[in-house]
């Protein structure tokens, strides 16, 4: 498998935080990412939308190299993604990730979940890490659950803890892969509200979601993917009111019928 090459053909723009250039990836015969070009600026909120299986999760996971890519370059803050190892681990600490299935550490309490990365990765003092963890848990509205184990929390609460866990690393960017898809309907809003607040606070975010309300109110840009390609990029208003491509029109008509 070829590694991401370190080419520098153009100086990155001042506020460019993540840049994917001509990225390709296969799963066996399946060309899951095809010539992906995507730039995310500092402070920008980008919503990725598209049919199931179009490669949205793979795109998201490629940004912190949970998936390797075969060709093209991915840079974060001007630095190309390094090989697996200490340097990559350090870079991943700067990229927060929130999963569809929460993935809280099942054997740790909520508080420990939010402290662990600070102490083990950032080498913070235990007491400082605990203070920060409690503040973050309060901020996402689960401060009273600090001593419980993840399994004792509702899905919405678990996802908010997962957001706090990622925020505890002071990430430069947050990636969300369908953060509300595994939630019961009544819990979706409590998670979206936390994300909306984050967006208002200026966090750079990539959000894979079908929540159009969130996209309209929080996103600067909507990226529509189908069959491993970015088919359309537009502002939320443009995209939802006047999609240009047939694929997008077709997709929107399906999700709007629900």
């Amino acid at each position: 498998m070829a590694e991401v090459s370190v080419t520098k053909d153009a100086a990155p723009a001042a506020d460019e935080l993540v840049a994917l250039r001509n990225v390709n990836k296969h799963f066996g015969a399946l060309h899951v990412l095809q010539d992906i070009d995507l730039t995310i600026d500092r402070g920008e909120v980008v919503v990725v939308i598209g049919p199931s299986g179009s490669g949205k999760s793979t795109l998201c996971r490629a940004i912190n190299r949970l998936e390797t890519v075969e060709s093209g370059t991915i840079t974060i803050d001007g630095k190309p993604l390094p090989q697996e190892g200490k340097e990559l681990a350090r870079l991943r600490a700067d990229v927060g990730m929130v999963f569809q299935s929460f993935n809280l550490f099942a054997h740790k309490t909520v508080l420990e979940n939010v402290m662990l990365g600070q102490v083990k990765v950032r080498k913070a003092e235990k007491s400082a890490a605990e203070d920060k963890a409690r503040k973050l848990l309060d901020r996402v509205g689960v401060g009273t659950q600090a001593d419980k184990y993840p399994a004792q929390l509702s899905g919405g609460q678990q996802q908010r803890v997962a957001i706090a866990r990622a925020l505890a690393m002071d990430p430069k960017i947050m990636l969300f892969d369908e953060p509300t898809s595994a939630l019961d309907p009544e819990m979706i809003n409590e998670v979206l509200e936390v994300m909306q607040q984050l967006a208002r606070d200026g966090m750079t975010m990539v959000v894979v979601t079908h929540e159009m309300g969130f996209a309209r109110s929080a996103a600067n840009r909507v990226v529509f993917m189908a069959d491993g390609r970015i088919v359309e990029e537009a502002t939320p208003d443009q995209f939802f009111s006047h999609p240009r491509s047939d694929r997008a029109k077709d997709f929107l008509s399906k999700i709007l019928h629900h």
């Binding site: 190892g85 681990a89 927060g96 550490f105 099942a106 662990l116 990365g117 083990k120 950032r122 690393m169």
Partner: protein
């Protein structure tokens, strides 16, 4: 009964020998087994190969052959002048480590992949992910197979007796060579093994219950 009472020191020495041999080779097997399991799931292909080779080698070689190698090959090629104890611990420990490795590895595979991904995504290294997130959650499923592995180790340690290490099984040979009736001797030796293996399975069951409450 007389055989036991008259040779209590021999029996005691043999019993302690078996316990110590099991404990020390068990410890060695645990340390090696966990490390090799780490190799087997590591992202580095040469380490994965090394781990697989280790398991294949030690799981498929008869233990008696490993003892012979420890006795007659290792001193010539690697370290001369090893004590019989050390050689027995090496043979038993290396052999058992292959089984420990596979038990740990299957425990690791019961931990959802998302746990390791979440750990890596907050910047933990591979070793931190394994040590802090995956292994602690694998422990519970590893305890039951480990119990069987250590019971097998206890019984396997009898081979050391044939190589003149003072342990339980050797006592039997010592006494029957002196012409005592073998049936009571065998009975006492068997009971002594039972005591050890029952203790092991009891301890592991206790551990399993403890882990169940912990979460």
């Amino acid at each position: 009964m007389n055989v036991l009472l008259d040779h209590l020191p021999e029996f005691r020495e043999g019993f302690i020998g078996t316990v110590l041999l099991t404990l020390s080779s068990g410890l060695l097997a645990m340390v090696l087994g966990v490390i090799v399991a780490g190799f087997r799931v590591s992202p580095v292909p040469p380490l994965r190969f090394l781990g697989a080779a280790w398991v294949t080698l030690f799981r498929n070689t008869p233990l008696t052959l490993l003892f012979l190698i420890a006795w007659f090959v290792v001193p010539v090629i690697f370290w001369p002048g090893l004590s019989p104890w050390t050689k027995a611990i090496l043979a038993l420990g290396f052999y058992t480590s292959a089984f420990v490795c596979e038990a740990v590895r299957s425990g690791i595979s019961t931990v959802p992949l998302g746990q390791a991904e979440a750990a890596r995504s907050i910047g933990m290294t591979f070793i931190q992910t394994l040590r802090l997130i995956v292994l602690p959650q694998a422990t519970r499923t590893v305890i039951a197979p480990l119990s069987s592995i250590f019971i097998a180790l206890t019984k396997n340690s009898a081979i050391a007796g044939a190589f003149s290490v003072a342990e339980l099984f050797g006592v039997q040979k010592l006494l029957s060579d002196k012409g005592f009736a073998i049936v009571p001797i065998f009975l006492f030796v068997a009971i002594a093994y039972l005591i050890i293996t029952f203790t092991i399975s009891g301890l592991f069951r206790l551990l399993e219950r403890r882990m169940g409450v912990a979460r």
